[in-house]
Symmetry: C2
Amino acid sequence: MPVLVMKFGGTSVATLDRIRRAAKRVGVEVANGYDVIVIVSAMSGETNKLVGFVDETSPLYDAREYDAVVSSGENVTAGLMALTLQEMDVPARSWQGWQVPVKTTSAHANARIEEIPTENITAKFAEGMRVAVVAGFQGLSDENRITTLGRGGSDTTAVAFAAAFGADRCDIYTDVDGVYTTDPRVTSKARKLDRIAFEEMLELASLGAKVLQTRSVELAMRYKVPLRVLSSFDEQTDEAGTLVCAEEEIMESNIVAGVAFSRDEAKMTLISVADRPGIAAAIFGPLAEAGVNVDMIVQNISEEGRTDMTFSCPINQVKRAQQAMDKAKASGEINFHDLVADENVAKVSIVGIGMRSHAGVAAKMFAVLRDEGVNIKVITTSEIKVSVLIDRKYMELAVQSLHDAFELEKAA
Amino acid sequence: MPVLVMKFGGTSVATLDRIRRAAKRVGVEVANGYDVIVIVSAMSGETNKLVGFVDETSPLYDAREYDAVVSSGENVTAGLMALTLQEMDVPARSWQGWQVPVKTTSAHANARIEEIPTENITAKFAEGMRVAVVAGFQGLSDENRITTLGRGGSDTTAVAFAAAFGADRCDIYTDVDGVYTTDPRVTSKARKLDRIAFEEMLELASLGAKVLQTRSVELAMRYKVPLRVLSSFDEQTDEAGTLVCAEEEIMESNIVAGVAFSRDEAKMTLISVADRPGIAAAIFGPLAEAGVNVDMIVQNISEEGRTDMTFSCPINQVKRAQQAMDKAKASGEINFHDLVADENVAKVSIVGIGMRSHAGVAAKMFAVLRDEGVNIKVITTSEIKVSVLIDRKYMELAVQSLHDAFELEKAA
């Protein structure tokens, strides 16, 4: 029988009633003739509670023990979902990550899936089991210890199972009814997209849209797993939600698919750095070693052998970045006058595969922001996106203006 | 290095503060030169919450999924305990049951430990790890599924580890400071015992004293593991708590060691059963098959080929017993007039290895109850105990009178 993967996030399994509701959806797909693999998150609030316990116990925790603790929420939901399905006379059983086993790297708290053997679950399907409920977010390292995949990791679990089992589709049930042109809380003109290309979704996810974990989209793109994002609270129809799919499957699309934004950015400027060959490596090497995720970089024109170097990073890594730079300065690796952090910035991005074939999209974006009096601090571009760093107070204005200017409220 | 097993129950790990307090105790034993195996329960309330989820989801649940769900509480505590010890610079790590693995039977929700391989943990001790924190109550079946050992099963986990590792002692930390002559809530004259023989503890545990799981005492007796019951809330001294040990290690003891009682009994009477050879088998066979734990049995004198048969069983098995008897009657296996259940009874028992060498102990018990006007409904005896079933309203009176009559407030 064809296989379908269905993933239910924390809010979709927050109570026993919601688990029943989710189980009914699963029952519909079983009746449609699918063998279903259900991936579940922890009941909402549970993982945060467990993370809180770990943080309070040991601020610089052993990530192996962190994983052993925080993975337990998914196990509870998996068992309860299997029991609920059994009550509905749907043959089901639960699997914890180590039982499959979901083999991962040993990068605890941020592991990557390496392999998902399909034999055990396939054998049970052959015996008549119709639903395998798998605890999301977790795996097993070579050292036989529990790993977790990072926050939002259950999305990645779902896509990895869909790829391993050659599923027809991977449905991600969440608390929003699809992917929007931008966050509807910022502009009421935001429109739900029926379809979006993997590449666009990948940019949107990594630029701040929280609907899917970035890695899950990467994986779906690599293995060509059609991904549907839909709400577990609405009635289900064939047209519900947003289908994330290959570019070729989208007939018409706007030049710009969506506007993403992130408030979690900080701008760091190294003032008066001695400009010499290798200076970028001398700065960004130590930052990478310290685990700082540098995003945008801009270097001023050099004057009298000195320059300013600006970069952005997540706001919760500012302290780490400062320590790394102070250490590099103390060891003589680099020489700068001052390091200034600006935490009142936001990143706004436009994303669309149409940009590849349309010139002038970036220029139009800059003109729109200029007309609104928004000063641009840093710019980065890729083939299908343009991002700018601006003062945080202008963020909503920038998003609304760009949404209007590119007419995102209208379907292509 | 010698090995010590320390088990902390739910109230001893109910909060992060209490886990820290427990970890300090562990640190003291590490400083004393022990390699320590710590067995932890779930934080108090957690297992009940999970059992509640399962019961609400599926009243006649699949016990394999029940085990997958309810075992998760212990995993959380094990990780948090390991992190707490690491914070105190004590090298520690956690193990879940399947990681050891604690091999059990496949009797889900009531599995028995079959084997505990020691290689993994011993190897870590050899590398310098000082504490192995193991999630109690859980194991792994041959089918690679999680099992649990029944309520209170962490005591059994602790004793089984102590036996497997040849531990010097198994310390059970709980919310009471030892084993008492009877429940102090029933008589203020109840006295903490410094020592008690395995056999006595076994009878007390199976007769209703809730301080230790019966199977843990059985196991301790079979493998001669000295067991110490003590409070995690008191200051620790060498004389703290109660040592459960071999008879030979107790110099002097009272004839009666303690008075146990249980409110969880029901009396069932089959009225006017046709008396014939094999009738007992015809009655108790079907009851055993239905999973009814019959405790006491008494058969009236036969009159005109018919008799009454009375037995006791746990109060929550009354319905099951009735169904089994109705089915046996319908199939013609047995013939009786009526089945009467009396749920207003209690069982009171006196226990002591001294009874073996002292005659007249049972007679004295019956006289004490007679003098208080307490009617005895059923009696059973063994070499070291006498149990009676009485009206529940007399239970406290019976316990107090027997405690006084056998002078249990005085040490031997």
